[in-house]
């Protein structure tokens, strides 16, 4: 119990370190540049406290539960030798981790709100919820696909930049066809997907796989999954916007 409390404290300090620069920049601008009082300080402070506590608890929970299972699974599948199961697992890992990504949940909801205000979709609770979920599942699907593709790349030893160039071409071509309103959201969704949960688990799979295969260097072949996972959502979300 003591070690758990100690870990909680460390995690809280980490989150605090993550947030301090943001407080500083906003504080300096409020006090020196804008010189305006913040309205509703009580609610802002309550929200900040929740962000701080929530982030610490979340990261701590990941370390206790999700990461040990995820890493041991990734290593088992990398060593198992069955390509079919490896692909299935790669897809499921990418999909599952992205669906639960906090930043993606927040951004999808916010996007639905903006879309509703702008008259792009109907301003109803159900419609907004559907739109946000559609966006989230599209992104998750694309990350699943990306991780699968990245695993194939590691197995085959393809150079990463070839896939990236193809991906960039895909993005450019989709931009021509996609409705203007979806382009910004699609481009952003690339960066949103890969944060707290996805990065450690997906990196574990890549590095584990590269170290199991002869002739692969875990340092150079193990990386690159995240890069693919930030590229495919752009293409998939634009496709989603075009089809909708």
């Amino acid at each position: 119990m003591n070690t758990l409390l100690g870990q909680m404290a460390t995690s809280l300090l980490d989150s605090l370190r993550d947030l301090t620069p943001i407080f500083l920049v906003i504080g300096v601008f409020q006090l020196l540049v804008l010189r305006q009082p913040l309205p509703d300080v009580l609610n802002l402070a309550w929200g900040m406290l929740l962000v701080l506590l929530g982030l610490s608890l979340f990261v701590q929970g990941l370390k206790l539960g999700l990461f040990p299972i995820g890493e041991s699974l990734a290593l088992s599948f990398a060593a198992k030798g069955s390509v079919t199961w490896l692909f299935l697992f790669a897809f499921a890992l990418g999909f599952g981790t992205t669906v639960a990504e906090p930043a993606l949940i927040a951004i999808a909801d916010e996007t639905a709100r903006v879309a509703a205000t702008g008259g792009w979709i109907e301003d109803k609770e159900v419609v907004r919820r559907d739109y946000a979920n559609g966006l989230r599942y599209t992104v998750a699907l694309s990350v699943g696909f990306a991780v699968m593709l990245g695993v194939l790349r590691i197995l085959r030893g393809w150079p990463l930049q070839n896939l990236i160039i193809l991906g960039y071409l895909g993005v450019v071509i989709m931009t021509v066809f996609a409705p203007k309103e979806i382009v910004g959201i699609a481009y952003d969704s690339g960066g949103v997907t890969t944060s707290t949960i996805t990065v450690p688990l997906v990196t574990a799979l890549g590095v584990g796989l590269a170290s199991c295969i002869e002739g692969r260097n875990p340092m150079t072949d193990g990386f690159g999954l995240i890069a693919l996972a930030s590229l495919t959502p752009m293409i998939f979300v634009m496709a989603y916007g075009t089809l909708m």
Partner: protein
Amino acid sequence: MERLHSLWQTLLATSVDVLPIAAVLLTFQLLVLRRRIANLPQVLMGFLFVLIGLTFFLEGLEKALFPLGKLMAQQLTDPDFIAPPDHLGSPTWQHYSWVYLFAFAIGFATTIAEPSLLAVAMKARQVSGGSIQPWGLRVAVALGVAIGITLGVFRIVTGTPLHYYIIAGYVVVLTQTWFAPRSIIALAYDSGGVTTSTVTVPLVAALGLGLASHIPGRNPMLDGFGLIAFASLFPIMTVLGYAQLGEFSRHRLERLPQEDNPDESDP
């Protein structure tokens, strides 16, 4: 009481959000590998923490980070603030200098302290054989994010199409890839995705949406998004550039007489 009720609502929604990942892991663990979960109580506790943590975080976002980002955007673009009272006509992009400065500061500050970047920086030193120092890489990435967000804000202010910037960025990245040392490429591409952390994303997104709704003539749906795309693209450029600089200075130190391709002369 109202706060508790709203927390409870978020908790219910979050439970549905977290179910897929739990289902995926359990299915593979129990049905495919047919192995029992080691340390089950600890794992269950972990899931409980994830659930409560995510609930608090999302609730805090709604109450603090989103409003704060929008508030800053609104105050920084307030007509009384950006233009002197005797100024006639509508403001042009030169009047928004504080917005650019804020964008640069928030981009740099949030990235330099990012824990996941620290881990990447350590690995980069190993990959590069010491020519890339963790501190240098962190500054390179933070500068990349800062420049990216500043340029993204400039784009929102001027209302130019996002894809021109991103496609131009792609061309630069591909050109740099051609010349960069091979071992750094995957890492540089990854660093683009890693830098945009869970706290940065909502704050920056709110800033963009806020700017687009307060600057005259901008539409949040068309102009408000894209800052995160900038923040994930520009670090790739700065990291590749930094790796090239490191390679270049190492070669000069070694005084290689012939001008061959840098990656061929790698040990």
